[in-house]
Symmetry: C2
Subunit: 221 residues, 2 copies
DNA sequence: CGTCTTCTGGAATGATCGTTCCAGACACAA
DNA sequence: TTGTGTCTGGAACGATCATTCCAGAAGACG
């Protein structure tokens, strides 16, 4: 039986020289596909284009990934891993408590500027493939769930430091709002590059959240 | 010579019965193409799919529109026209000055819920087709320019009513921020429908802008 | 009536799509 | 050495792609 390398993770098995070469090919395919899909969407990216950019024949793509759909899932999974790995650990920030949120948002903004491909891919996939049964949408949701949880924790800490009370529902809404703003700022920058000041928009967000929390709490009372 | 109906506007010429039938076909094609492109993106929408949904043969599509690209441009143009026409005229709102902005945002939110197809198409096209020379991107920018101008006027009026000073640059940033939030809320609703409370997020935005304006002005001083 | 314009129907084009097949190249274990 | 699993190269498949062509239906106009 052949070795089904079509699975997502290479596992922890010892790798022969030949297999390591295959791993490199797999990576080149992932990178090429990630770039292309982020540029032109899923439907707009052909296997032959991935083949051309990666320098590997179509048969290699199909040996490493089950299908075009499987390739997409792997690209999303891999992209998320890399993107989050590039963010600094929020627990290690040495800023005073009332500035941690702002600092974290700055880091997110920088990541958006430095490595926009992944978020672009995520948004494109979310909008382009609303098939109920698409497994990739599930991956997208999971990735966004992580991001939302991180934002929520940062917001909670910030509000606590400022002695602003906030119940769970309010925190949830604020985290969703912040994630939405991150999407939005990114999109604005995509549509009108050079005309969009990403840090400025993130500063607006940071300046804004405490007041929003107070307003929400007041409304709830 | 044949009559080149491939142009966007039917003009003001008197229409014969045969021509009116053609106009109906044109509309059916535009509607079908708009739906499909909003669902699956430009690359994901085939002429044969448009033909199937509209009930007209491919040759009719090519008679009414120069090419697939031309069809896209017409769809965007037409969609923008319809979408803005569905919004109430801000000058006619009868709310007190300090609530006009909130009311306007509510209307925008409702429009997003009622007729999401157009914004979905706009975002999809913006992200999917980053070709420098794409004429459709120009249309997208123009449409967003209108929206931004409307938001800016509403924000300016709101701040004046609240006696919060704001210079041009601040107003511009706030308008961009608000437009971005509108995008974002829409996207969040697309990705996690039923899990996203659109009015709540728009209330956060409305509650947020005066504080943001004050913060921005303070920073600039 | 016949001619013109407008629009539709359907077949056809070559290109490209996703996917498969299979012969080999190459590193390992025996 | 002789397999055996791992991966690549390239040709090939039918399906579908955007687009074109042309015959003809049918109202308009004389």
């Amino acid at each position: 039986m052949s070795a089904e390398p079509v699975t997502g993770d290479p596992g922890a098995a010892p790798r022969t020289e030949r297999q390591q070469l295959g791993d490199q090919s797999r990576r080149r395919i992932l990178d090429a596909a990630g770039q292309l899909m982020a540029e032109r969407g899923y439907a707009g990216t052909s296997i032959s284009a991935v083949s051309a950019r990666s320098g590997l024949p179509a048969s290699s793509i199909y040996w490493h990934f089950r299908s075009k759909e499987g390739l997409l899932a792997a690209v999303i999974e891999d992209g998320a891993l890399q993107w989050f790995a590039g963010l600094p650990n929020p627990a290690e920030l040495d800023a005073p408590p009332t500035e941690r949120l702002a600092q974290m948002l700055v880091h997110v903004g920088e990541a958006l500027e430095d490595r926009p491909e992944f978020l672009r891919l995520l948004l494109l996939i979310s909008l382009e493939r609303p098939d109920e049964s698409a497994a990739s949408l599930e991956t997208v949701r999971r990735v966004r769930g992580y991001a939302r949880a991180g934002l929520r924790a940062a917001i909670e800490a910030e509000l606590a430091a400022r002695r602003i009370p906030a119940d769970d529902a309010t925190l949830d809404t604020l985290a969703r709002f912040s994630l939405a703003v991150a999407d939005a700022v990114f999109i604005a920058a995509e549509i009108e590059p050079g005309d969009t000041d990403i840090p400025a928009l993130f500063r607006v967000l940071a300046a804004t959240l405490p007041a929003a929390a107070e307003a929400a709490t007041r409304r709830r009372a």
